[in-house]
């Protein structure tokens, strides 16, 4: 992966160029969440973002599907500049799936309906077809027989499986994961990580924010270390974990490993 520089622009499905973002909250000091961040992701690559809490990982991830706007810089998804006003973000978001720490399943809908709604509403799929797709995906993530359950009737791990399946129904080209195992008990964490690894093996382009260093080492093609809104270090898992260069990366790893 070291030969990234030699590749042409076309091969990068995600390109982030000098993106900055500052949060202004009334009555508080402005928070600089991103400082001129630049990065690229190849098709099929698994990029893992790590760093201490508050370092801007979520903000970076959320700019990739336009949930967060940027103050400066550009982001291209599949060669479309999503920071331009004219870009239809809803179309981009169909290509970029996102899984959240708190699942964000629709509380008033069953597991099945959580998967059929985006198909019928956004993709205009017929309800019969949507249901077949949904059932197949629910089975694939290991939730046979749970279709009729509401989110509140499912365990955290089960809810997260539904959430991943819900993103997959849109047939996205890219998947974003924001600390998707942080709200789960250890037993469930393992299952979700396995599910993500199998997705990675199937060639899905993934950007993963996580504190699971084992997963980062096993499944990541490339690691990015962030602190204070900046990318401080970047490299393959092997190089990064075995020989971190930046003092703050060294300190962070000494804390979490």
């Amino acid at each position: 992966m070291d030969n990234n520089k030699n590749k042409t622009v076309k091969n990068f499905i995600i390109k982030v160029e000098e993106v900055s973002k500052t949060f202004h909250t009334k009555g508080r000091k402005p928070v600089v969440a991103l400082k001129q961040v630049t990065l690229q992701v190849e098709e099929g690559e698994v990029l893992v973002i790590i760093g201490p809490s508050g370092s801007g990982k979520s903000t970076l991830l959320r700019t990739l599907n336009g949930l967060e706007t940027v103050d400066a810089g550009h982001i291209w998804i599949d060669n479309v500049d999503i920071t331009r006003k004219e870009t239809n973000l809803n179309q981009i978001r169909q290509k970029v799936g996102m899984v959240f720490q708190q699942f964000n399943l629709f509380e008033h809908k069953t597991a099945l309906a959580n998967l059929t709604l985006p198909q019928t509403a956004v993709l205009k799929t017929s309800s019969g077809k949507a249901e077949a797709t949904a059932m197949a995906l629910l089975n694939k993530v290991g939730l046979e027989g749970m279709e009729r359950s509401y989110p509140s009737q499912l365990s955290g791990g089960q809810q997260q499986r539904v959430a991943i399946a819900r993103s997959l129904v849109m047939k996205p080209q890219i998947m974003l994961f924001d600390e998707v195992t942080s709200a789960l008990d250890p037993e469930a964490v393992r299952g979700i990580l396995e599910l993500m690894e199998s997705l990675a093996h199937q060639g899905m382009t993934m950007v993963v924010v996580t504190h699971e260093m084992g997963f980062a080492r096993r499944a990541g093609d490339r690691i990015i270390f962030m602190d204070g809104g900046e990318i401080l270090e970047e490299g393959t898992p092997q190089i990064f974990f075995d020989n971190p260069q930046h003092p703050r990366a060294q300190f962070f790893l000494s804390q979490v490993l």
Binding site: N65, L67, N90, Q91, I92, R93, Q94, V96, G97, M98, F100, Q102, F103, N104, L105, F106, E107, H108, L117, P118, A121, V122, Y150, S152, Q153, A163, R166, S167, M170
Partner: protein, 225 residues
């Protein structure tokens, strides 16, 4: 039986059944029209309150504050006595129209607060979940936010409706003959305040109990899993 007659003379009261019935009908009619008006006003102002434009939401907030910090009776008087001719109507509002308008404007402010709270109670994550799937604003509202908000909003809206019906008794002050005025008629004509007002109270109590039952039912039905 004689003892009962002394306390509650239902024989005299029986003569006034038509008045009470008509009063009850008027009360229900006024409340019904005012309810729809207030729901419309409440929805519009709730949306304005949530609008990103500061002028719009300040306007809506001022309206709610003005209504909440003045008595309904004063609002009724201002709308009925002080409002000049209505341009399109070419006349002033009559007591029924004035009363209904005042009730709707008043309840609308409270309804808007309930509706706004309902919309805001839908967690931010629900909207982000919908956004991440590429749903448009309309789709998010229709499929995600409103269904969840509605479930939380119906019971308090029914409670506010009960208050609206009780408040409608105040339009008797500007001469609308509704349930309360029927009681006043009986008292002044036959000098039996007990029968007159215990009956009126029972009438309102029955309406209240029906709404209370409906609210509990809705709470159970809409609570979800």
């Amino acid at each position: 039986m004689n003892f009962l007659l002394e306390f509650y003379n239902y024989r005299i009261l029986a003569e006034y059944i038509p008045q009470f019935y008509e009063g009850l009908c008027t009360t229900l009619k006024i409340s019904f029209v005012a309810l729809f008006g207030s729901l419309a006003i409440g929805t519009v102002f709730a949306c304005l309150r949530l609008a990103p434009n500061p002028i719009l939401w300040r306007l809506a907030a001022s309206y709610v504050q003005a209504i909440r910090s003045t008595p309904l009776l004063v609002q009724i008087y201002i709308i009925y006595f002080a409002l000049p001719e209505i341009p399109l109507l070419d006349r002033r509002l009559n007591e029924l129209e004035g009363g209904i308008l005042a009730l709707a404007l008043n309840a609308g402010a409270y309804m808007s607060e309930i509706i706004r709270a309902g919309i805001q109670s839908v967690a931010r994550g629900q909207v982000e979940g919908a956004m991440s799937l590429g749903m448009t604003y309309i789709q998010r509202m229709r499929h995600v936010v409103l269904p969840q908000a509605l479930a939380r909003v119906v019971p308090p809206l029914l409670g506010q409706t009960a208050i609206l019906i009780k408040d409608s008794s105040l339009v008797s002050f500007i001469g609308v003959s509704e349930l309360f005025s029927a009681g006043v008629t009986v008292m002044t004509e036959r000098l039996i305040p007990t029968e007159a007002f215990v009956t009126v109270a029972l009438g309102y109590l029955v309406i209240y109990l029906v709404l209370l039952w409906a609210s509990n039912w809705a709470q159970r039905r809409l609570a979800g899993p």
